[in-house]
Amino acid sequence: MTSYDTVIGLEIHVALMTESKFLCSCKTTFGAPPNSQCCPVCLGLPGTLPLINEKAVEYATKAGLALNCQIHFFSRFDRKNYFYPDLPKAFQITQDAFPLCTDGFLEYYMDEQLVRTAITRIHLEEEAGKLIHSGPTIVDSEYSLVDYNRAGIPLIEIVTAPDIHTPRQARLFLEQLRLLMNYIGVSDTKMEEGSLRCDANISLKPAGSSVLGTKVEIKNLNSFRALEKALEYEERRQSKLLDRGEAIRQESRTWDERAGRTITMRSKGDAPDYRIFPEPDLPPLNLDPAWVSLIKVSVPELPLERLKRLEEEYGLSRYEATFLVNYRDFGDLFFELAEIGLEHKSIVNFLMGDYARLAREHGHMAAKRLAELLQLQAEGRISQNQAKAVLEELFSCRLSAREIVEKKGLEVVGDPAALQPVVAEVLDGNRELAARYKNGETKLLGFFVGQVMRATQGKADPETVSQLLRDELAD
């Protein structure tokens, strides 16, 4: 068995979250009745003229800036011709020779190591329609149904350099890319709705060799898991072939989720000949550098920057910081609570614990409302268990934390003067046991503490009670 180096490159399609389509004014709403959001332009009817959506250019530029790309003020559209039922015009308007963005990178952590994947290019193009196959997969479908609502939605295609080395790294990269797109607000990146899709190219070469092997393209990777599993499968398949001295065939394969394997896709007719030429219906883009600068200013703090800030300025662990980065809404809430002056570690513990569970069910709570609860706990006015009960109430009523504590009489009673009479009463009612304690049966202390707690409906501070009891019984 020879050992091989794996070389992976990804092509990611991200649907941009515009209100209207890329080249016409049809809606982009997901889940509308089929073929209800189409017009002569996106249906490719003769005599129509496309007009570029400014927002799509803005979002594509923003994505390029967030991925450290060079933004080209001049870029051009091309016509890529092919026959496929999801393509109503029988060509796709895309950018071939002069893309909007090139030469970027994304940095992310893989275990403890900061790694970088180069972004070769990002270009703007239009989405195709959606196909629903009659069979479980495209290869065993007698017919397919086509919905053109999706046709013409703006997309960016992000192409990485072939410098990803393992299936797991491919997955981590895609997860980080998705997070980044969410942070900059250009896409909802829902893989299950197809607004983030990934194709992967993978080849193997003898370890250390500088010559790339024959690559295979895998399509239809609809989840992070599918991406990782398909690449793992393809690594095994290709290494077995190479071990036997067989050649890898350059081809497109599709991932069969159920069978857990990739299968060859052979389309009818020739190998694709896209006959790409400059799109005659659209003049080239000539962006104003000042406009690009404005977009640059609108790029918010990105995930890796936030991670560093949480670790370095707020003293959080990688684990805690990662949680607050991956769940951006929790991160935002953390900063608001920290701003109020609460202790950082206790905020993050609280957010990752009971709060996370309840917030997922009911939605987030205003920072001020939460801060009051955390303050009561920090001051020792309520116990951790009581805080949990108050939190549940906070989600279901309009009262403030302080009001709930008062209403339920939850406050911890730690004042010895207030507790002294209760302690005396309990000892008075259990004289026999008190005598046994004095005779050395000290384990009875727990019983007395329990009695005081019961008499105060759990409000007494157990520490103070124990001390008072020991003092009393020592006499």
Binding site: P34, I52, H133, Y143, S144, I263, T264
Partner: protein
Amino acid sequence: MLIDRQEVMRMARLARLELSDREIDQYQKDLTSFLSSGQKLQQVDVSAVEGTSHAVAMTHELRKDAVGESLPQAEILSAAPEAMDGFFKVPRIVEEQE
């Protein structure tokens, strides 16, 4: 010969055109003649001319991201050879796997 019969048949397949033998011969002659005329242009010295992608020098025009009218579903499907449940229905796309 700039274009042979094979090439005509390939283009016809790409364009989804069904041509008779006689038409293939005719197109082979016509296309060869077109390209021969085109070859004359190759002799022009264009070394001082800047490359262009569009015949008319224009700069882009962008529209605001605003939603407009779409066509009713029935009208959209009215041109479909076959429709089903609001969808266009198309025949088998990919051949059987090996």
